[in-house]
Every structure is written in C-alpha cells, then in structure tokens.
Amino acid sequence: MSAGFNRRRFYAMLVKESLQIMRDPSTFLIAFVLPMIMLFFFGYAVSLDPPRIRIGVALEDPGPAALSLSTAFERSPYFQVNGARSVETLEHEMAAGRIHGIVVIPQDFSRRLHARGDVAGIQIITDGSLPNTASFFAAYAEGVRANWQAGQAIRISRAAAHPIEVAHRFWFNPELASRFFLIPGSIAIVMTMIGTLLTALVIAREWERGTMEAIMATPVGMSELLATKVIPYFLLGLGSMAVCTLLAIFLFGVPFRGSALGILALSSAFLVPALGQGLLISAVTKNQFVASQVAILSAFLPGIILSGFLFEIASMPTAIRALTYIVPARYLIPPLQSVFLVGDLWVMFSKDMAILLGFGALFFVLAIRATRRRIA
C-alpha cells in the first residue's frame, strides 16, 4: 500500500465508483423513488392534527334540552356521531374498537338542568387504549358542552365568566399543519437512508464478495479508497435532498423561508456522519444481512424515534434523553425545520453543524481503524 496521494489515480477510482453506482438501477430507486414515497406517506398518512373522532352519543333523555345538546355534538367538526338510545350498544361498539368515545346524556338531564340549585351531568367515556385521541376527545367534548351551555345561558356576561383571556399566537405555522414540520423532518430520514443504510449495504456486499480486499491490495491508499467510495453517495444524498425539497415546496406547499445555501450547508454537514456511520457498519459487520439490520437499528429507527422528529425529546425519561445526544439526526431536524419555517438562523445552524462534523470525524476515524484491523 502506498501512502502518497495521486490525483490521477484518485479520479480514476472516483469515476469507477460513480459508474458502478450509476449503472445499478436500484440506485435511482433509492435516491429518487424511495424519497418520493416516504415524503408522500409522511405528507398524507401521518397527521398529528386534531383527529375527527368517531364517537357515540347515548341520548337517554327525550327532552328538548338533551336533544339540542346531542345536536351540538353532531354539528361539531371534530366528531362523527353514531346515535343510540342506550349506552349498552355503544359500549359494545367501543370494546370492538369501532368508536373511540361515548357521550351519555342521562334520563334526568332535562329535569335537573332546570331544577333550582341542581346541576345536570353528562358522562364522557373515552377510549383509553388511544391516549392521545382520548385526551383530545375529553377536551373537545367538554368544549362542546360548555359552548352549548353558554348558548343556553343568557344573563351571564362574558367578562364576569372569564376575568382573564388568553390570546394564543402560533409563530411560523399559524395554520398548525403538522405536515409543515413532519415533511422537513422526513428529509432527514431520507438522507439517513441514503447515507447510512445504502452505504452500509453496498460496501458490506463488497466485503462479502472479496472485492474490497482486492482493491486494498492495489496501491490505492486507505483514505483515498474510502473517499472515492463515499463521494458518489454524498452527491446522491444531496441530489435526493434537492428532489425532496422541491416536492416539499411545490407539491406539499411547505413554506421555505431560508436560503438554498442554508439547506445545502446543513445537508452536507449531516451527510458526513451519516456516511461515516455507514462505512463503519460495513467495515465491522462485512455481511449484508447483519449490516442492514444494524443500520436500521442504529440509524433509521433512532432517526425517527429519538431525534425529536415525531416525539418531544424533553418529554422522554432522563436516560433516554441522554441517549438522544448521540443520535446525529437530533442535530439536523431542528435546523432543517427552521430553514423551512423560520429562515436562516446561522447561530443555531453553526452549532449543530459543528457537532455533526465532529460525529462525522469520529465515525470516519473508527471506520478507517476497523478497516485496517481487518487487513492486518
């Protein structure tokens, strides 16, 4: 193995590797078709917006007040109501998972509503097997009742009922569309796939077939070899990022308030640790099956679950929160969401980019060491 860097040899290797990737039809599948499918599903299938919940209303009281409250539930845009006279049929529906909440307006509702000094109660039964839907349902059902009551009451003045009012403003995303933050986040997942999964798989195959050793026996230097292996994937990753960004803006209507330079810098900084991790996995496992499983486990799933993409990191238990610090995607997703929704926040970007490049350096050093040990 020779130490020196030879520019001609480097270019020759780079061309060889690039041709090899370009010739493989599955490359395009991964770089362009897969991201589109991912973005498509994240754009349409995943929605954290308040759901339209299927509920049942048991109207046990035939009185006009009960009927008008029941109509208020039917009119609510948040509910899709199944009516019933008794609660038993609805209980069965809920155990079967066909409805996710029950409102019971009991027999004595109308009578107690107008009885002096009495309070008419309705019962809200939520489906706790879907905790998120359950708390939405409880809150919105209570809202429907409170609004209905306010409509019924005439003499209570607003100021007396609410001495303090809160004016809520949601910056950057006043429409409160969850896809505005999910789609930028899914671009990070797509780059993890190309950077780590694809690289790990392809290079593990070379190890499996012995072509890696064959190249190592040539005068090509170690870092030169690894560089020519990863540069084409780096470009592929950026290309697919560009496709995703255009789709996000023009197909899904996600606002883009930052600059092309900003998103390019962030993506480039992220691809360094992603590729490094892929190289490291392939050098350690040298087996396509094991490499693919390790890549899913160590890059793809943490990228979705431990990165703040779907779940708030602050809400996690301390030990898990500590673990999120070693997930590179954690440092990409907030700046990526910012470059779309806020603009270029270089103070934030530069800090995250520095951390990403630090991870990248670490992974590359480990990958080089792992490769060297194999040969010795």
């Binding site: 155990a95 002096r116 396509q288 094991v290």
Partner: protein, 371 residues
C-alpha cells in the same frame, strides 16, 4: 413427504441460527427496542421551558407566574426582558412558548376590566405547542376562578357539567398504548426483513436453485422457508407478552388463545409479503430495499404513528390491505380492552386473506421462475 419437510425445516433452522452474529441480531435488538422506543415514543408534552415577559410586576402577574412554575409539566420558567429576547428565545428553541403580560394586567383585574394575556408559541412544533396552549388555558381558567368564584348571576341559568371516565386505561398512560403497538411494529420489521433477505441470499448464492431441483416440491420448500421467521417471531412476541405486563405494568386482559391465532395469521401475512419481495428481487440488496419500501408505509398506515381515522379516505381504503393495521387493533384490544374472542377473529380473517393471497402469489412466481 413429512420426512422431507422435517429435513427441510431442520436445515432452515440451522441456516438461520448458525451464524452467532445473526443470532444476536434476531433476538437482542427486539428487546432493546422495546425498552428504548417504549419510553421514548410518547406524544405527551412534559418538562418544557416557558418564557415569561412580565411588564406588569403586580400581584396578579406574580400569582400567574407562580402557578405556571407550579405546573408539573413545566420544567423551568425563563424570565424574558424585552421583545427582542422573545424572538431570540423562540427562534433558538430555548422555550416552546412565551407568555407576555402587559403593564395593565394586575390593574385590569383589580378594576374588574378584562385582562388579556398574549402567548406566542413555536409553530415548528405545532402539535406540542397546541398541547402547551391547552395547559396554559387551564391554568389561566383556574386563576380566573380563584379571582372571581363562579358568579350566581342568572339564577334561572341552566347549569350542566361533564364527568370524564377513561376506559381501558384510567390514567391515559401513553406507555399502555405504545407497548401493544410496539409488539406489532417490531415483530413486523424482523419478520419481513428475515424472510425477504434469507430467501434472497440463497438466490444470490445460487443455493435456492439447488433447492428447486431437489426432490422437494415448491410448496415444501416454501413451507420450510416459512418456519424459521414464524418461530423467531412467535418466540419474540411471547417474550414481549411476558415482559410487558411484568416490567411495564401494562395489563393483559384478553384471550391469549385468540391472540396467538391472530399472531399466526399476522406472521403468515408478513412472510407472504416478504416472500413476494424476495421472489421479485434478484439480489439481497434489492430484497432489502424492497422490504424497506414496504416497512415504511406499513408502519405509517398501521394507526400506530397516527390514527387511521385521520387519513384521507382513499388511504384508509389502502390501509385495509395492511396486515399491521388489523393486528394493531387485536394487540391493543387483547392487552387493554379485554376484547371478546369474536371481535379478535373479526379482525383476524383479513389477515388470513392477505396471507393466502401473498403466499399463493409468491409460490406462483417462484414456480414460473424455475420453468
């Protein structure tokens, strides 16, 4: 026939369990994932920091800040001194929300004029921000009630109230939802990937063609290939059934027998999909990518990431073809809802249909490739 089949099954089990690294990959990660993702996968919003830009300083503003910092969900109150700082704190994600009180706040309350609080949120996290805004509303409403107890103005005014009961999960513990869901997702990822890749590997190495020219029938070969992922999946899920009630305290209320019947159909459906992928792929790499291409939509359309009811209608139709969607209902039902056997079976037959269709298609594809 039974002797051939037995030999084939033994061979398959050896092939998959021989490699020590593959052994670890099959059994260790599913357990680790259960722990990490079980605790991480929560849509609750806790431990957040809130900024307070208090230009009032009066007694009522201090009372409000006191109540905010007393909320169990708020980790820290960050005092903010100027409008520019509000911007910087939100932009830099130091806080998820800033509560702004104007100079007249306490004076307005004392004078019985309506007082207004401005609250701005980080819309990059619009879902969490909405939950925080609901917390703030509740805190402010409580403060309002303390300032002015419910007025008995309209004597004839109708009064009603609601009582909330949470079935199946009295404290709405998110873990109770995540755990049965993870059973579905983790067993799916390993089942699908193991099937797709073991078959593709043999095809890449050429040993699959050898199997095809052996005295084994195509159906026997396929059954032999189905057994290892079926056993690995059942073993892992059984381990979950032991761990989840004991370690995580999630109740297991339904019929175990019905659960296993549904599990067998679910695994067969996944294996069928995996076989179909490997029948179409020429290399391991393609098989892996094909499996991956399927895993992502299967998770997203299962109802685990977000409710199926939230999806557009045509995606809900597509979700009917998703085995994970049906098995998620069974898993949540058997763990939490004491789902009757009849209901479990009602969600099982679609799984059997998916299994039948995919396995038949895979065997036809394999057969046509030999000829």
């Amino acid at each position: 026939m039974w002797g051939r089949l037995r030999a084939m099954v033994v061979k398959e089990l050896w092939a998959i369990l021989r490699d020590p690294r593959a052994r670890i990959i099959l059994f260790l990660p599913p357990i680790v994932q259960l722990f990490i993702f079980g605790f991480a996968g929560t849509l609750e919003v806790k431990n957040f920091d809130v900024g307070v830009y208090n230009r009032d300083g009066g007694a009522w503003s201090r009372e409000l800040v006191e109540r905010l910092s007393g909320s169990p969900n708020v980790r820290r109150i960050v005092p903010i001194g100027s409008a520019d700082e509000v911007r910087a704190a939100i932009d830099g994600r130091l806080v998820i929300a800033v509560v702004m009180l104007d100079q007249q706040f306490s004076a307005n309350i004392s004078a019985h004029r309506p007082a207004v609080i401005q609250a701005v949120y980080d819309g990059r996290r619009s879902n969490s921000a909405q939950i925080v805004s609901a917390y703030l509303d509740r805190i402010v409403a409580n403060l309002g009630a303390a300032i002015r107890p419910t007025p008995v103005v309209g004597l004839r005014a109708a009064r009603s109230q609601s009582v909330v009961t949470n079935w199946f999960n009295p404290n709405l513990d998110y873990l109770w939802f995540t755990m049965p869901g993870l059973v579905v997702v983790i067993s799916m990822v390993s089942g699908l990937a193991v099937t797709a890749q073991t078959v593709a590997r043999e095809r890449e190495l050429g040993t699959f063609d050898q199997l095809m020219v052996s005295p084994l029938r195509v159906s026997e070969t396929l059954i032999g290939k189905m057994v290892p992922p079926l056993l690995v999946g059942t073993f892992n899920v059984t381990l979950y059934l032991l761990l989840i009630p004991t370690v995580f305290g999630v109740p297991l209320t339904g019929s175990l027998f019905a659960f296993y019947v549904a599990l067998a159909c679910y695994m067969c459906a996944l294996i069928g999909v995996g076989m179909l992928v490997s029948a179409l792929a020429h290399t391991q790499q393609q098989a892996f990518l094909g499996a991956f291409l399927i895993i992502v939509p299967v998770i997203l359309l299962s109802g685990f990431a977000s409710p199926v009811d939230n999806m557009p209608g045509w995606l809900q139709v597509l979700a009917q073809a998703n085995p994970a969607k049906h098995f998620l209902i069974v898993s949540e039902g058997v763990f939490l809802q004491a789902m009757p056997v009849r209901e479990v079976l009602a969600n099982t037959w679609p799984l059997a249909v998916i299994a039948l269709v995919t396995l038949t298609a895979a065997s036809l594809l394999f057969r046509s490739r030999i000829e």
